[in-house]
């Protein structure tokens, strides 16, 4: 598989609206397929990007449609790196506990599942604050050998 792994970098910027989630998924799909991941792994990467961007729209921009989401994808020889940047409110993902589904069921809570899924779907997840009040989440998936 290694011989088919391609090195490239691409980027897309969209407004913070939920109808752009399908645009972000298509962009991620074509990049992940180009890198040589299996269909199953491509599906996981797409879902992780969707969940991260949904969190940004919901928590960082609080559904305001005027914000921007920048999705940058870099494919190196052994890893696929996705950086998602926004300029919305900072939210601390570490303060969100891992969900206990039984408790969710009792309390009828419906949020917080996305963050948990992202950690399950990707190999590495890192949140940071950049200069200029930007927030960034970097998602990494290692390429098949």
């Amino acid at each position: 598989m290694n011989s088919s792994n391609k090195i490239f970098e691409k980027e897309i910027v969209v407004k913070s609206t939920t109808d752009n989630l399908s645009v972000l998924r298509s962009f991620t799909r074509s990049a992940a397929e180009e890198s040589g991941f299996s269909d199953e792994t491509v599906g996981k990467i797409i879902l992780a990007v969707d969940e991260a961007c949904t969190n940004i729209i919901k928590h960082a921009y609080k559904y305001s449609p005027d914000g921007e989401i920048k999705l940058s994808i870099k494919s190196e020889d052994n890893k696929f790196i996705i950086a998602i940047t926004d300029e919305g409110n900072h939210f601390d993902p570490n303060k969100i506990p891992e969900p206990n589904l039984s408790e969710y069921y009792k309390q009828r809570r419906i949020g917080g599942l996305g963050m948990f899924l992202i950690r399950k779907l990707m190999d590495d997840v890192k949140y940071s604050t950049l200069t200029g009040n930007k927030n960034q989440v970097v998602l990494v998936k290692y390429l098949p050998h």
Binding site: T18, G43, L117
Partner: protein
């Protein structure tokens, strides 16, 4: 634009919701509208047929979380049928099989409600 369709039909006393396409944070409100209509109509026995659903994110899963207990409190339930493997895997990652019933076939899911009514 995400491609999503939801259709509601009655099979005897059971309401069957057919979901088609991509269920994400953009399209989940359409599914919520259908559940709100069921509550307005006092319909609590629900089967969701996933045969044509290609994709689900946690926003879609959250809709089922939000309504299941109300259905159960009223002697109903939300049961799932005809789910493709890639969609089931997401439910499985979040532990849904402990809390929900999954059936291969819609008739089997509908039949479970009818069995309960007979007993």
């Amino acid at each position: 634009m995400a491609d999503f369709n939801v259709n509601l039909r009655g099979v005897g006393p059971v309401s069957v919701i057919d979901v088609k396409g991509y269920l994400d944070a953009h399209t989940a409100p359409e599914l919520e509208n259908v559940f709100n209509k069921l509550l307005d109509d006092q319909q609590f026995k629900v089967v969701v047929n996933f045969n044509d659903l290609k994709y689900i994110s946690s926003a879609g899963l959250g809709v089922f979380m939000a309504y299941v207990e109300t259905m159960r409190e009223n002697l109903g339930d939300i049961k799932f049928s005809n789910m493709k493997e890639n969609v089931f895997n997401i439910f499985d990652l979040l532990g849904f099989p402990i809390l929900y019933e999954f059936y291969k076939d819609e008739n089997e899911a509908v039949g479970k409600f009818n069995d309960l009514d007979k007993s």
